[in-house]
């Protein structure tokens, strides 16, 4: 990795040297990227192969004759989506995820605004509590909530999961949104107040539009968190086909059909498609959101 940075006699000589010196680094990085991609590539390729081929030959063998139509099929996807109910599970995942993202953001935005710009007794204390709750493992909440839900007939309902994700996501959401909203210039907020705007008007017309970047970052983080979550979904929704989300169904399929690779490969990609799409289309916000949201408990 010794990159020669000695001053060269001429510019072109220097450039050539840099290029040569950079080559090993470049090769190593590309090699790492290749190794990192290989496992997913294997699964993706296999998901389009006929079941017999998957279990009889390695997926890499297909690369020697990729243009024969007999080596590719869509039947695995047809099978998992319909016979194994993943189409339904996808719909459930959407139904679970959207409110589980929007509700905590709404509640957190109102609260963050109050913490930043309104005076009330206990303000500092409550905010300290929020920060303290941020890293509490959600395992601490599962048993009491499960019992409460059983009493209220909420087990296995979307409502129960939405509220659970809202509760678990709230400390981080309040913290992040507060960090942003509290740095908005005080003069703007003050002048709105002088002009007779109520706190609510200030919030909806001024604070909320200005906070779009931080809301977007948190939304992406929370979306990924909820979509990819298994634990909360297993505990409060279960694996029954009517309500189970993609991750829960997939985990159940691994348990029951651990060697039926045609099901597992296609199933895994069905579950990944949505987050991968979000990843590639919103990469910049995605990184920002993940970075910001990395302290969640």
């Amino acid at each position: 990795m010794n990159v020669g940075y000695q001053t060269a006699r001429s510019a072109s000589n220097d450039q050539l040297r840099k290029l040569l010196a950079g080559a090993p680094v470049r090769i190593v990085v590309l090699l790492i990227a290749f190794v990192w991609t290989l496992p997913s590539a294997g699964l993706l390729v296999s998901s389009f192969r006929p079941p017999d081929d998957i279990t009889n030959t390695g997926w890499w063998t297909v690369l020697s004759h990729p243009f024969e139509s007999s080596v590719w099929t869509l039947q695995n996807y047809d099978q998992v989506l319909n016979a194994h109910g993943l189409a339904n599970a996808l719909l459930n995942s959407v139904l679970v995820t959207v409110p589980s993202v929007v509700i905590p953001i709404t509640i957190a935005a109102f609260a963050a605004y109050a913490f930043a710009w309104l005076e009330f007794p206990g303000r500092r204390f409550f905010f300290t509590v929020v920060v303290g709750l941020m890293v509490v493992p959600l395992q601490m909440s599962l048993i009491p909530l499960l019992r409460l839900y059983t009493q209220m007939d909420l087990n296995g309902t979307f409502l129960g999961v939405w509220l659970a994700h809202t509760g678990f996501g709230l400390p981080l959401a309040v913290f992040l949104l507060f960090g942003y909203i509290s740095t908005l210039p005080g003069e703007i907020i003050e002048s709105a107040r002088v002009d007779g705007a109520s706190p609510l008007t200030t919030f909806t017309r001024l604070v909320l539009p200005l906070s779009v970047p931080v809301i977007a970052s948190f939304a992406i983080f929370q979306f990924l968190w909820v979509w990819n979550d298994l634990l909360v979904a297993l505990v409060f929704l279960g694996t029954k086909e009517e309500v189970a989300v993609v991750t829960a169904r997939l985990a159940a399929l691994v348990g029951r059909r651990g060697e039926q690779w045609q099901v597992l490969t296609a199933g895994a990609f069905v579950g990944m498609a949505v987050p991968l799409f979000v990843f590639f289309s919103l990469q910049r916000y995605f990184v920002r959101g993940l970075t910001a949201g990395s302290v969640k408990g």
């Binding site: 950079g22 997913s40 719909l91 509700i103 920060v131 709750l133 941020m134 709230l170 706190p199 298994l230």
Partner: protein, 371 residues
């Protein structure tokens, strides 16, 4: 939003200190309570009506998402009707109250309750003292789980941070290829742990010796002259094959964050060291690493917390069998498979105790930032 009603002078000032407290609580409760009741009603109604699922979803979305907003607006308007002296002392609780109520219901109360349950027996009836903790910290099953958690913490955190750092430094020097290489290494972060587990189950897949190997690892291993192995039942090494999955998902994350920090190292600082004749290795340890120390600590704690609670990978890959148990998976099994709520609670408390230093650190930094 409306302009104030005429002030009712002496009565309000007398009223305000007495009524403000209960009113604040009341106002805090309105939004969560009504949303909850409306949604519950809608669910029960639709469940009985056997309505089309998509319709149920859309209705639920409207109530859940729109309803929350509407309730805030209504509550705020209600507060505006209050006498002037009380109004502005109650109003902040329209905004902050619902969050406080939900945090209390979903975190504060359950945490206290779980601590309490951890001192009761399996069915939460009799007090058993520290029995559950004795199980959690000394039983032979749990000793394996604790050992594995330590392995996970050391190896995942160590590899993710050091590998992420090395890749971040290298990727900084490859010019135009940088964004593409980063994307490829970062992608696993978007994949669920369940998805990642399926991907790696396939890599570790095992076929009997005469058959062609379809798992990448066994194919490479047999090509090099070895006999095919069932990697996931190969104690104690199977733990490391599970650990590799988490390293695979998190390294890209560490790389992206550290790469951003490295780009913040001033160019003059690097130039100056180079002119002084420092080698690249020395610049790395003497200039870059100290400069990004804060980010390194943050990312290490973040990864530590994630690893501590590792559940999905173990649950999907081995369900904790073959000596691959970890605390969070055992906690889940005690709860659902064995129905032992005392032990399960004690295991959750063990996880909580492990993160308390981070919690204290966060609260301290908050206190400092306030000064």
């Amino acid at each position: 939003m409306t302009t104030s009603a005429p002030a009712q002078t002496p009565r309000t000032s007398l009223l305000s200190p007495l009524t403000a407290g209960p009113l604040r609580v009341l106002v805090s409760l309105i939004v969560p309570l009504i949303t909850f009741l409306a949604l519950r009603w809608a669910f029960i109604f639709m469940r009985s009506a056997e309505a089309n699922k998509l319709l149920v979803g859309v209705v639920a979305l409207i109530i859940g998402v729109g309803g929350v907003w509407a309730l805030y607006l209504v509550t705020d308007n209600l507060v505006s009707l209050l006498p002037e002296g009380v109004r502005e002392t109650v109003r902040p609780f329209v905004f902050v109250g619902p969050a406080l109520v939900i945090l209390t219901a979903y975190l504060v109360y359950p945490v206290l309750r779980t601590v309490y349950l951890s001192f009761l027996d399996a069915r939460s009836q009799d007090f058993v003292g520290l029995d559950n903790y004795a199980f959690a910290l000394t039983s032979s099953d749990m000793l394996i789980a604790l050992r594995n958690n330590v392995l996970w913490l050391i190896f995942v955190t160590g590899f993710v941070v050091s590998l992420g750092l090395v890749i971040a430094v290298m990727v900084d020097r490859i010019g135009r290829l940088e964004p593409i290489a980063k994307s490829f290494i970062f992608v696993p972060m978007a994949i669920s742990a369940v998805g990642a587990s399926v991907i790696w189950r396939f890599v570790y897949s095992f076929q009997p010796i005469q058959r062609p190997q379809i798992g990448l690892l066994n194919a490479v291993f047999t090509a090099l002259g070895g006999d095919p192995q069932g990697w996931l039942i190969l104690r104690p090494w199977n733990n490391f094959f599970l650990i590799a999955i988490m390293i695979w998902t998190l390294t890209g994350f560490a790389m992206v964050v550290l790469s951003a920090a490295i780009k913040g190292v001033p160019g003059e600082l690097l130039e100056a060291s180079r002119i002084d004749g420092a080698s690249e290795i020395r610049i790395f340890f003497g200039v870059i690493v100290p400069y990004i120390r804060g980010t390194l600590i943050t990312i290490s704690t973040t990864v530590l917390i994630m690893v501590l609670k590792v559940f999905d990978i173990v649950f999907v890959m081995t369900a904790g069998q073959y000596d691959t148990e970890v605390i969070a998976n055992r906690m889940f099994r005690e709860m659902f498979t064995y129905g032992n709520f005392g032990r399960s609670s004690a295991l959750a408390v063990v996880l909580l105790i492990a993160v308390i230093p981070v919690m204290i650190y966060n609260v301290r930094s908050l206190e400092q930032s306030r000064r």
